[in-house]
Symmetry: C2
Subunit: 148 residues, 2 copies
Amino acid sequence: MNIGQAASASGVSAKMIRYYESIGLIPKTVRTESGYRVYSHHDVHTLRFIRRARDLGFSVEQIADLVSLWRDRERASKDVKAIALDHVHVLERKIRELQEMALTLKHLADHCHGDSRPHCPILEELASEDPLPVHVKTDAKFGALGKA
Amino acid sequence: MNIGQAASASGVSAKMIRYYESIGLIPKTVRTESGYRVYSHHDVHTLRFIRRARDLGFSVEQIADLVSLWRDRERASKDVKAIALDHVHVLERKIRELQEMALTLKHLADHCHGDSRPHCPILEELASEDPLPVHVKTDAKFGALGKA
DNA sequence: TCTTGACCCTCCCATGATTGGAAGGTTTAC
DNA sequence: GTAAACCTTCCAATCATGGGAGGGTCAAGA
């Protein structure tokens, strides 16, 4: 199977498959004489595993750990669970941060007439010297939240 | 005021101040003879405005719009409100995505004994050929959610 | 057999916001 | 006068992903 077929069978783009190979998340494949990468159904299975883990928001680093646990028949399930729960906590923290932002903003927007006049509590609040009301005390690292 | 003082007064790092200048979010400042940037209290006020908007998760592009509306005494408040509400919707979508991920993961973790034995429903689910249960149907773009 | 289009290859670049560092000049306080 | 604490510019890295250029390969049809 060529990379394109492996890509559509796994849901991981050809670009990403090459990238995963380059960073060592997946091993280097066999190549044809002319240099084309060749994939087996087993490889596709692994790629699908990776894609599912990505869909759950795991980082590539965590996925590497999960894949190696997956391959390890002697693994302890607590090791897997620890990674999963750790990630749950990260997700929950992000969720809380976003909720605080959304709540604060909604509150501000509620108080803005939203008409053609210039008066606007949203801008006033942003321009204020006082601490932002309730909710907001952001971990600024979170920044603009990935790309839209 | 030097850039370091402006940074600590505004909460925006010197690095970021230079960056904001380089991308045109803030205008180029006056310089001393020796090339040091000089900031006024007014500049610091603007930087603080920017920082607050960042804390609420606005992108630099949106902040540019907000700053120009802020400066515009003839602005219509509906323009500001539109940006804010648009952002609220983006936030809410992200929140929903993360909640789906967290819920799915928690569900899987709940069914994992987390002991020293290898059996693990989390890995089984990731390795499964079937669609992920409930919750998950991710906008993969969201990926690893910024940096930990 | 030749051509064409659909593949594949490897590089490099860009994203967004931010931090880090190197190499070098300036200011300040002792 | 010197050392520390600033400042300057430029370059690189982060993380996962996509885009594209420039070039080779393969399969199907004329």
